[in-house]
Subunit: 239 residues, 2 copies
Amino acid sequence: MSQLQRIVVSPSQLQDNQISLTPEQLHYLVRVLRSYDGDKFIAIDGTGKWWLTKLQGEFGIVLELLEVQTELPISVTLLLALPKGNGFDDVVRACTELGVANIVPVLSDRTLLNPSPQKLERWRRIAIEATEQSERTIIPTILEPMTFKAALSALTAEQKYICEGRNNNPHLLSYLQNQKQITNNQIIIAIGPEGGWTDTELQLATETGYQPVSLGKRILRAITAPTVALSLISALHEV
Amino acid sequence: MSQLQRIVVSPSQLQDNQISLTPEQLHYLVRVLRSYDGDKFIAIDGTGKWWLTKLQGEFGIVLELLEVQTELPISVTLLLALPKGNGFDDVVRACTELGVANIVPVLSDRTLLNPSPQKLERWRRIAIEATEQSERTIIPTILEPMTFKAALSALTAEQKYICEGRNNNPHLLSYLQNQKQITNNQIIIAIGPEGGWTDTELQLATETGYQPVSLGKRILRAITAPTVALSLISALHEV
């Protein structure tokens, strides 16, 4: 089943068990994949449902709702200072594969570049592609970029961590292990830019209830750190 | 201390506490970083030693041996099927940051491309750069590419894992947690190409003592999986 092509459709495309495919989706199915009428694919609505679907003309006919469980039992929000260059693309892709629920691009003291609307669109497309590839059922939400201060006050969760490599902080894993038995469904993890958070930012975060943590004894690049944090959170909640 | 520039030197450059710098290293220190006589940097020999060093003419004068502990207490060998494109660059960089000891590029049933000697040189340069950036003391070894079969018989370790996403295998983390108390200093982790290992390869590996493991419920790309595995191994041995 999992070898069938997966295509994300919007709820408005589905009516009476019939999906009216967009020209792009039809092009992809018919021209790129060379599918014929009667060939099957999987339609994903991006909010948790997979349907086994059959191509018929310009429509997908829903055959059955599939039971898929590839989502984490917790909601993880990644609050990430915007790195320079195209590093954010890789982070969105890898963290989607690892089950992230929300990604918040953050303007920090050391990264003030406000990304263009095109960039945001691009990250959302990457999140959709990675959802299909990794066989998830829910597309992560990429929020509009906001300042670090705004993110700290807008977002709440039972567990909030801020990664900071240089201050001999306890390892993220030790907190995750201690917290695992406690009922809490939401984790926020904040990861800084190249060069790290400023002291002011760190203080602001700890005052807002963020626990400073380490991701190990070596210095990680800003685009490696999110994958490491998500790997630990995902594994600990799936074992 | 950690903010000083780190430069990898070869053992042959050091004699009587004096490092004779190569033209490239001198260019980098003097022209790029604009260092002057008397300015300090850190010389790394790549096998575990850091020296605080002072620039003097074409030499570095060793001032003191530094105590640095950024290496994992275990030796991790990553056996990785060669992905298409430049994905291997990213894997070498991220896994070096995470403390890998050896990386073995493997020719598998689904990836038969033999990389050029230039590629191997490139990966070794990336490993050196990532060692400097991540503040490690030991440069990981990138072995010559070999067939999967040759790798299975050439490499030995107390713990050997092969990642395989589709067969409902137990999670790598559960094995790592069980094995942590046992004295063993070597782990090998084998990660397949896009499309996964073939059944023949999986069988060969399990016959050689490899434990098939999962890295979670979602399907990871071949270039994400090594970072995830290394993240878990590193964290579990540093907490």
